[in-house]
Symmetry: D2
């Protein structure tokens, strides 16, 4: 059977992990050095400084040898105590998941139910907080984008809702799929705790988690009685040897991070955001075209809430999203995201974040189109052409404007 062995690079269009640039891979081809050597210490120190630029913060940064779930946990155990109540506006699988983690960590959560296709109205948040006159709610768990649903919420509007309610709850934001993808402004937006991980917009292999903490969060930390050591902020703030990491620092990944930060700062964050916006819009045009055959649609209802880093495609009843994903990956050599939890089997997701460009996106969209054709899923042919049309029109505007 002539298709049995794969050749050629696989396209990676999952919403994490994302493509790791050669420059990052190169930086990781390195024998470790003594942890106290000035060379790696300077690399770590510079990463601390430059990751602040990505978060747009001047506050404190904590780095962990962990994935994003580790960073989630660090945010919680450092600022909350067992029994604390957290408000969770539901955007999809990941707001739910972060809430479940809080429950597992012996905190309590209250969910503002969502429909997984649009963001929670900030007014509902304001109302709930205003009603909490005893300030039982200690924090809000917000995912800027839920990668399961591709729905993005409006952080400044949520900040405004909290302020209007005059509520002291901490604003904790998961920027795992948005940092270095979509604009995020920790300080300007009054975010108290921001969480991210290495394997999405930061273009790194998984294995590093980051938490940024505002002075208010650090204040709350002092009173928070959760059990913690590995994630503990106090230990790091107090001790030189623990300042960077609790235990051995993951040197290879830090060399890679250094390269990734260089790349982002060279491109310029505004250009990074604009690039992702274009790729997302091209994907939307393509999917809307396929959807004319009536079998699929963009999951995020409102254009303004559609994520720049990932697109969730909602399928009609009877169409097997898991099959689409499997065939696209195993036959077409293009990896997609699957439907998660409520959307399991009913959706698939195209990631377009990180080290991504138009040529690679075309390859991915065409691979999906080929998969739909191969599986006899109803679709309007020519989605890729629509993506080309949009991206070329943008380029012409840029050239001629």
């Amino acid at each position: 059977m002539s298709y049995s062995v794969h050749r050629g690079r696989h396209l990676l269009n999952t919403p994490g992990p994302t493509n790791v640039p050669e420059r990052v891979l190169q930086a990781m081809v390195r024998n470790p050095m003594d942890l106290s050597d000035p060379v790696p210490l300077a690399v770590i120190e510079s990463c601390f400084q430059d990751i602040k630029k990505i978060f747009k913060t001047e506050h404190e940064i904590f780095m962990y040898a962990s994935n994003g779930h580790g960073a989630w946990e660090a945010a919680l155990v450092n600022t909350m105590s067992p029994g604390d109540l957290l408000l969770v506006p539901e955007l999809g699988n990941f707001s739910t998941g972060w809430g479940e983690m809080a429950e597992a960590l012996q905190m309590r959560t209250e969910t503002i139910k969502g429909d997984w296709r649009q963001a929670i109205d900030p007014e509902k948040i304001r109302e709930r907080l205003a009603a909490d006159t005893s300030h039982e709610i200690k924090g809000l768990l917000i995912v800027q984008t839920d990668t399961a649903t591709s729905v993005t919420c409006d952080i400044p509007a949520i900040r405004k809702a909290i302020d209007e309610a005059g509520h002291p709850a901490l604003l904790l934001v998961d920027t795992i799929p948005t940092l270095a993808v979509t604009d995020f402004r920790m300080d300007e937006w009054g975010v108290d705790v921001a969480v991210t991980a290495s394997q999405k917009g930061l273009m790194m292999p998984p294995g590093l988690g980051f938490v940024a903490a505002s002075p208010k969060a650090l204040e709350a930390h002092k009173k928070a009685t959760s059990q913690r050591r590995y994630w503990d902020w106090s230990l790091r703030l107090a001790s030189e040897s623990y300042r960077t990491f609790c235990g051995t620092s993951p040197q290879s990944q830090l060399y890679g991070l250094r390269a990734a930060l260089d790349m982002l700062l060279e491109e310029g964050l505004e250009n990074v955001f604009a690039r992702h916006k274009r790729l997302a819009t091209a994907t939307h045009r393509c999917v809307e075209h396929w959807g004319k055959a009536g079998a699929m649609e963009l999951n995020a209802i409102h254009a303004a809430q559609r994520a720049d880093g990932v697109t969730t495609i909602l399928l009609n009843e009877g169409i097997d999203g898991a099959k689409i994903r499997d065939v696209c990956r195993d036959e077409m050599q293009c990896a997609l995201g699957g439907g998660l939890r409520n959307l399991s089997g009913r959706a698939f997701r195209i990631g377009h974040m990180g080290d991504m460009n138009e040529a690679l996106l075309y390859g991915a969209l065409a691979s999906v189109e080929a998969t739909l054709s191969y599986l006899d899923v109803p679709y309007e042919p020519g989605g890729v052409t629509k993506a080309i049309d949009y991206l070329v029109a943008e380029r012409k505007k840029n050239r001629d404007g």
Copy 2:
């Protein structure tokens, strides 16, 4: 300007160098060892054995630290003497170029003129050889595919022509763009000298040249009086220390070659050929669709002569092929081949050889389509869709058959 920094892997669709698989790059991340160490010696020896399987020969192999031009030269100076006459059926830039090299090396050449869009009729070769009753012609320089024109010729038919003419000339074949792309059978087809290089079907970085030599070629070698040392076969056949290389062997590249040979043999040569054939046909369908707007066509007239590894697109007068190539590479991040010599500015070329798959080809074809649109070159939109249609139909045949 938001497009100023490139992100994401560039697509490499030149007809050499081609993509180097991660497995090959990995193999080259290695500090050298002593040249006499059994480890690298065993790697080199195994490469000698396995490259024979790719050439489908049991004859002698010579490897050079060089590029393809070096291998061309090695073939000539080892079998020819100054003043010797070589017959060069013209397929395009590379048959011409090999002939020019022979002239520079003080041999003489006689060209059977071609039109750069089809192969020379073997009957013409037979006639010319039959007329050479004094056997002045010492060899034929044949490129199996000329990558400038994408025209492929029929080696067994040429062998037959030589045999029918009863002529003793050596048959020298350039398989640089065809080895591990299109079937080539050195021994079965009676080829005397076959030449290739590392950076095409062999999926390696440039820097290794190969020559395979039949017993008849080795016999001719003994009488050939060209100046030579670096390329000299006798030295290698006579001396243990020179057996593998004249001087230091290029170890990193040999580790890479070992990995590349493993990949080819695991996939199976017949599967490798079938994959390239499918990718080529998909490209042809796409280009033929674009061409409906009347501005371009496949350069190779006869379907049977179209190369499996590269497709040359001939443009109408007034369309600037160099511009297409530059914009596709510099803006769209997809590198193509340009028009060479007679075709300079009048053509561009899409490479689809080596570590290539359907997803990557879609990305390249869409990038070209975007370029045509961006430059307002007349084309029928939807070429990529045609490529998808063809490749999915092939997959369905395979699945259902």
Copy 3:
């Protein structure tokens, strides 16, 4: 100044991180794949199976994106509850540190004081446990080797002490600096929880933590009420998607781990242990020779308790160990470990674990000898010669024997 730029590979003789073999670095040069792709899933599964062989266990394994401190924490929060009492026989900085972590995690600890130069007598452990008739003590925190002091303890003897006391406390063992260095037999020795990390005997970059858990530990886990999610065993045992990792798996490191496990299993664990034993003994001979000048001695008093992976050299009052370490690293390009906590400034450490051989050890010992000379520290010259004498004698025995 002609010494200002370093050239040539640095020697890495810290007791972690250790040298990462090229084969491991190569394996990590890889773009990530979809987390659900069968290729990385199979790699992860095989790592789970093979790491068991290294722990010599058939019990459960948990892998974490973390360093060794993370693995420490995972061991504690999965088996203990706030307020639980842990017995900590003091071997040095790391038994103390693990105990401090337990305290920070709201457990209680009781230390059996040691002198940092010899292991705690198992009889003292037996006595203390026998006295604990109410079984208040829930676990023992044992470091097989304390890398700060290079003192190694006798795990089977400790097991025997627990059994003789008829005490139900769990036996938790830190094998971070001993796994794949010195023999460790989880199941045979009745260890309940074993902890390790990637950057020592496993020859990997830092960033992976491992915990092995016996059925008894899994039973204790069910009743342990510590807050936990990232480290939680139940979640992993219950859920397919969490089985391997809580969140995104650190794919690059898992490819590297696969290569490292291959190397260890190819060498054979018994050979790995014998190699480390020889390197350790050679280091001891060298240090004992230097010490004839009266300024330094091996920190571990009893030969049988000296670690196979690291050697701590205790310095006379007035000799600055930190200076020795700094000069050896910054001038001589050989990184050593420093004195920790009680030994701060009074000791330095030579690591000889992981991807280490005689030639590299000679380089390190000679670099230390050069440093002693450069700093005018009293030492008997010729330590390296003693190391050579010992290692050659061993080789001759092996050859002739």
Copy 4:
């Protein structure tokens, strides 16, 4: 058998290939780009400019996908014609080898016999040239260091001899084992053709050859009638597309070269030379100490003629140099050079050039000492100690001076 699997990096102390720094390996982990892409073109152009700084020339540079033998051949066929007479002062295997190559290329050679332990007296060269009143001699083939014998000659003195004889012969110098090891000044010393290769002082894998040519050499080139194409200077000087390489440029290696040149220029050539001189002298002290037992001595008689990059050790009759080399490599994991041609079996060589430092040299010298002990070769123990003594004394001078 516990020694059966090697672990830990092998020491590479052959006089080429030499250690490739991680920074160079990293730079080579890169998918190729289009040959016409501005990115690789800029890299190539910058290499042309910076390699001139290493040769200390402002003249023309030619780079080849080849090894050093290729560069030798390029030097000959570009400046000489069949029948031309070349004068070859014999320093050892490599001056002889270059001469043999010239003979194979149909030139004639005349050797000034040497004893392989000292350089030819320039006066002898002057005499021979002065006697050649018809200027039959067209060039001198000079190896700055012969790596077989470790004898270095005095290029300015040879230039002076030529000038005093008033002879027009070209001065061709092989700097393969000396460039970026020992001072070489192409322009100031009046060298006409300088040849080098990538795998020694340039710290690259083998596979690149370099030739620098003075205006006088370019003038001679015009009249030289040797057969040539791959090596041809005219083609490159005349044609933009051939300017850099005849055919496809070896991109991976050029990225590596870029990194290596950066490293050399950052260290500063004078520091590079001083470092090599120190390492060489330390090696001499060590060998002289071993030699006190009467079984071996430094091959190069005169201290001033001893090479900075390699040390040849001459063994007494009855001592098997090949065995020493084999055991040191296969058992001790330290690769040495062997005795060549006249010295076959009677010598071994320790390379100390390129990416080399004191720590690595100590490891190598100790490995040799262990080998001598293991094989019961008579030697005075403690050679490494002598090397330490010397290098520490130098460091103290530098510190205190």
